[in-house]
């Protein structure tokens, strides 16, 4: 049986690029880029972005608030380890969504990950991901260039799922293998495979030089690929290990170290994207938040509402967006978790609207299959 611990330890950091423009297939006019940072395990949103103006914060968790958070406004502060991100906030290139979650309250990593990637209310109810469906709808062709495509970017028309590799016991290179595949397809498909072949020649290098699999190296790789005119439009970077429950850290420790990693990953992406930064939106996603109160081992457990961090040149005005539910016991979900008062699918929908130029009504009905998702585009990108 796969336990939760095995599940998490088995999934390391990873990069998945998708949405390479294919001539004749890609019709979408707006050239925005979306980068998702998948924070696997459940980020403690109250430690990352503490509501320092809420008197109940210190009553509920006095030992799990950074001793010196950077004050953003009378209600919210941010953990000092988000140095680069704070500068982006000051420069109107980042925003924060607080007390938010996907519509999932079950506190299971498996189900939570499935809901946030699938984008529907029920886990395991669909075999495509919301970002994949958004690419389908925006007619962005050229899908994932990876061996194991995450659910998030799987689409219904996932026609080119490819990863440059050699087959065991053969000396044929991947391009020879592609020659063979190409010869069995009709003309349109042959053109697509030709593109893949050219790209694979460039990627063999990446595949064989043992690219470091830490988030910063992956962010460099993603940024370099995405800044090209013909580069991928979508990237997913997995940042694991947000699964600590004991001694999660206040100023230093495991969670604060992960904040630094997320912060540096965002900064690295900005550096590498260069001019394309102005065309980009980066968003974090985590399966759930943590309990408001600390547990007996100086940590927190699986909860509900958390925080979402957004950065990129597509943002014009920085802000914290929150329908703050409060932290008094009666204001908590099941008297233990921060209530999620913003459906994070609204945030995802707004990012798709900004980067791919689809109408909100189309996104809510086609991508999330729920026409009641409120539009938050004006608040984030207006």
């Amino acid at each position: 049986m796969i336990t939760r611990r095995h599940f998490l330890s088995g999934t390391g950091a990873g990069l998945f690029l998708s949405g390479y423009p294919v001539h004749g297939f890609t019709k979408n006019a707006i050239d925005g880029r979306i980068i998702v940072l998948l924070l696997e395990g459940g980020m403690d949103g109250l430690l990352a972005v503490p509501p320092v103006g809420d008197d109940n914060l210190y009553k509920q968790r006095k030992d799990l608030v950074a001793s010196n958070p950077l004050k953003l406004n009378p209600l919210f502060g941010i953990h000092p380890n988000f140095k680069n991100f704070s500068q982006m906030l000051a420069g109107d290139q980042a925003s924060i969504i607080h007390a938010t979650s996907f519509p999932y309250v079950g506190r299971s990593h498996f189900e939570g990950q499935n809901v946030l990637q699938g984008g529907l209310k029920t886990p395991f109810s669909i075999k495509t991901g919301w970002l994949g469906r958004a690419m389908d709808t925006a007619q962005i062709a050229g899908k994932a260039m990876s061996l194991e495509t995450p659910l998030l970017i799987r689409g219904a028309t996932d026609f080119e799922n490819f990863y440059p590799a050699r087959i065991k016991h053969t000396r044929n290179s991947s391009s020879q293998l592609l020659d063979l595949i190409q010869s069995t397809h009709d003309l349109d498909m042959q053109k697509v495979i030709e593109k893949l072949k050219q790209r694979s020649l460039g990627m063999v290098d990446m595949n064989t030089r043992n690219l470091a699999r830490d988030p910063l190296s992956l962010a460099s790789e993603a940024g370099r690929s995405m800044r090209k005119e013909t580069g991928p439009r979508v990237a997913v970077i997995k940042i694991p290990q947000f699964d600590d429950h004991a001694e999660i850290g206040r100023d230093i420790g495991h969670h604060p170290e992960l904040f630094t990693l997320v912060d540096q990953t965002i900064a690295k992406l900005k550096d590498e994207l260069k001019e394309q930064w102005s065309n980009t939106i980066i968003l974090t996603m985590t399966e759930f938040g943590r309990t408001v109160k600390e547990n007996g081992s100086a940590g927190t457990d699986h909860g509900y509402g958390s925080v979402g961090l957004l950065a990129g040149g597509l943002i014009k005005r920085s802000s914290v967006i929150a329908n703050w539910p409060g932290l008094a016991n009666r204001e908590l979900y099941e008297r233990r978790d921060l209530y999620a008062t913003i459906d994070y699918r609204s945030v995802c929908a707004a990012c798709v609207e900004a980067a791919f130029g689809l109408d909100h009504s189309v996104i809510s009905e086609t991508v999330f299959r729920d026409k009641n998702i409120p539009r938050i585009y004006r608040h984030i990108f207006g």
Binding site: L70, K71, L72, N73, L75, F76, S86, L89, A90, D92, S318, S319, V320, I321, A322, N323, W324, I342, P374, R375, I376, R378, H379
Partner: protein, 107 residues
């Protein structure tokens, strides 16, 4: 004697209710009912422009960029505001009212 007091109490209550309802302004009710559909809570929908209603409508207008030169709207403009909220701007203002924006003060 007791009846006298009881009747007086009834009369007073009736008078109070009538007085309150006379004071209740249909334009204010219109504004409060709109605010109830947003996250800017006006408190009770009672037709009275109290502190909560004033704060709620002004916060919403500020977020929507509608407060002219930072000037706050007052009960005197209730009719004008109600007409505005029923205009073709209805959906846009309602959408803006679904989420609260907290500006960043570290610039």
């Amino acid at each position: 004697m007791a009846d006298y007091f009881k009747n007086s109490l009834y009369s007073f209550t009736i008078f109070f209710v009538i007085a309150s309802s006379l004071h209740a302004d249909s334009d204010v009710i219109c504004i409060q009912e709109f605010l109830k559909k947003t996250v800017f809570d006006p408190g009770l929908v009672d037709g009275k422009w109290g502190r909560d209603t004033g704060v709620a409508i002004n916060s919403l207008f500020e977020q929507a960029g509608l407060n002219k030169q930072g000037q706050e709207v007052t009960v005197d403009q209730a009719n004008e505001i109600c007409t505005f909220l029923k205009s073709d701007k209805y959906r846009e203002i309602l959408e803006i009212g679904q989420f609260k924006i907290f500006s960043i003060d570290i610039k």
